[in-house]
């Protein structure tokens, strides 16, 4: 038992290095997902029909295929085929981001559709262009409503990021496995990985909850349903 403890303590700096990579992949993935998902949601709700179909096809594809398959498809398949040499972590970040974009677009779309149509009409009646109404009225409201869903998405992506291990990215899971195979302390190291993921989830969800409170508007948004 003592030996297991020592192994874990000794491995902590090494595991924390992996934690940094995991966090980078998750934040990068969330950001790419936001950058892809938000315009897709707007296009699906307000854009011309063909654009809506494209978004639906994208979402249908990325939601229909497991992350593990996507990782292989892009890293060993498409990226290789186009001889695009990027490291495993970057590839994992891109794939997580593209997949998350599909999920995030639907979070944002749901929020946009939940807004009263009167909000957009009132803006139009004042002379706002559609673009101004979307930027100044629809999105500030929809993004607030999206925060709980976004927090959920963060916790999912965080755990999906463990799959980057199969590409050879030296994130948390890869490093615990690496230490475990040399020390045979599988249980202790798996528990250590559990602990790190648990803390990352807790911190991230807490931070997003704080953001939610910070941008809260009296009488508006998810805080009100309670």
């Amino acid at each position: 038992m003592n030996q297991a403890f020592d192994v874990v303590i000794g491995a902590i700096p090494y595991l924390l290095g992996g934690t940094g990579l995991t966090v980078a992949a998750v934040l990068g993935g969330m950001f790419i997902g936001l950058a892809i998902g938000l315009p897709m949601a707007v296009a699906q709700v307000y854009g011309p029909k063909p654009l809506g179909w494209l978004v639906r096809a994208y979402v249908w594809f990325f939601r229909g295929v497991p992350i593990l398959v996507l990782l292989f498809l892009f890293y060993f398949g498409l990226f290789q085929a186009f001889s695009w040499n990027i490291d495993a972590l970057t590839a994992a970040t891109l794939v997580l981001g593209m997949a998350s974009g599909a999920y995030q677009s639907q979070i944002f779309r749901g929020s946009i559709l939940s807004l009263s149509k009167g909000q957009f009409r009132a803006a139009s009646a004042l002379g706002f262009t559609d673009r101004q109404a979307i930027l100044n009225i629809v999105l500030p409201q929809a993004l607030r409503l999206s925060l709980p869903g976004w927090s959920n998405e963060y916790s999912i992506i965080l755990k999906d990021s463990a799959l980057a291990f199969v590409l050879g990215a030296t994130e948390i899971m890869a490093r615990t496995q690496f230490v475990a195979t040399r020390t045979y302390q599988h249980l202790a190291l798996a528990l250590a990985a559990c602990g790190i993921y648990f803390i990352l989830t807790w911190v991230g969800v807490r931070a997003l909850r704080m953001l939610e409170r910070y941008v809260a508007v009296p009488g508006f948004g998810p805080q009100e349903a309670r």
Partner: protein, 252 residues
């Protein structure tokens, strides 16, 4: 008062979902005039007001504001026209994420291009005009229905509209809050604002309306001053409708 009409509406027609809602509506509005739309629900009042602001694009007909024909095919023209026509909705439609001051100031900044400080000065003046100077920091959810409607009036006034369209502005209000909104509207009329208002507040209509348009099934079937249309001896359709209204509401 100048006799050139500020708004001319000719043969306006609109169908929604294959069902004709407006058929051949025509009228003119003089500067400073208060026109009131009355009629059964589903008669086309709301659709007419929305068409006048091109929130619904009319299928046919022309609208001239200050002698200028509005071209619905030009988005730029539409945006410019809408700035000149204020719209008040039955359910207020204040921007839910903005406080009262920002609700009024936002369009001044984004649409009229004013700086923040300048926009806020104007917004404060309009909030004062509707008697809400002390509420500028409150969000829509923190305001009563009457206060929300007054903020929405301030928001429309800030754009210096040539005409205001009011779509049953008191219909969603508790009875004790109707008075404060009607008082604000009376004040606007006194200041010479041109208004087209759908309402069933008959006491208000009798004293304030310059002309009543009675609408049914998408057509203006009667048109005239309150004295004409509400005269007991003439037995108008309008009077008949208003009498029934009074019965439902226990005397208005």
């Amino acid at each position: 008062m100048s006799e050139t009409p500020i708004l001319e509406v000719e043969n306006l027609a609109k169908s929604l979902g294959g069902k004709p809602i407006l058929s051949g509506v025509s009228f003119t509005v003089k500067r400073g005039e208060m026109k009131v739309l009355i009629g059964p629900s589903g008669g086309g009042k709301s659709t007419l007001l929305q068409c006048l602001n091109f929130l619904h694009i009319p299928d046919a007909g022309t609208i001239r504001l200050d002698g200028q024909t509005v071209d619905a095919r030009s988005r730029k023209g539409l945006y410019a026209y809408r700035q000149q026509v204020g719209m008040i909705f039955q359910d207020y439609n204040l921007f839910d994420h903005l406080n009262a001051l920002d609700n009024v100031a936002l369009a001044l900044r984004k649409v009229k291009g004013l700086g923040r400080a300048e926009a806020e000065v104007r917004a404060r003046a309009e909030l004062a005009r509707v008697g809400l100077s002390d509420k500028e920091r409150l969000y829509p959810a923190e305001l009563s229905g009457g206060q929300k409607q007054r903020v929405s009036i301030a928001r429309a006034l800030a754009m210096d509209p040539k005409v205001m369209l009011l779509d049953e502005p008191t219909a969603a209000l508790d009875p004790e809050l109707i008075g404060e909104v009607l008082t604000v509207i009376r004040g606007l009329a006194k200041d010479g604002m041109t208004m087209i208002m759908a309402t069933h507040q008959m006491g208000f209509v009798r004293t304030m309306a310059d002309e009543i348009l009675f609408m049914q099934e998408g057509v203006v079937i009667e048109q005239g001053t309150p004295d004409m249309l509400l005269d007991v001896d003439l037995g108008s359709r309008t009077l008949d409708f208003c009498t029934h209204l009074a019965e439902f509401e226990g005397g208005a």
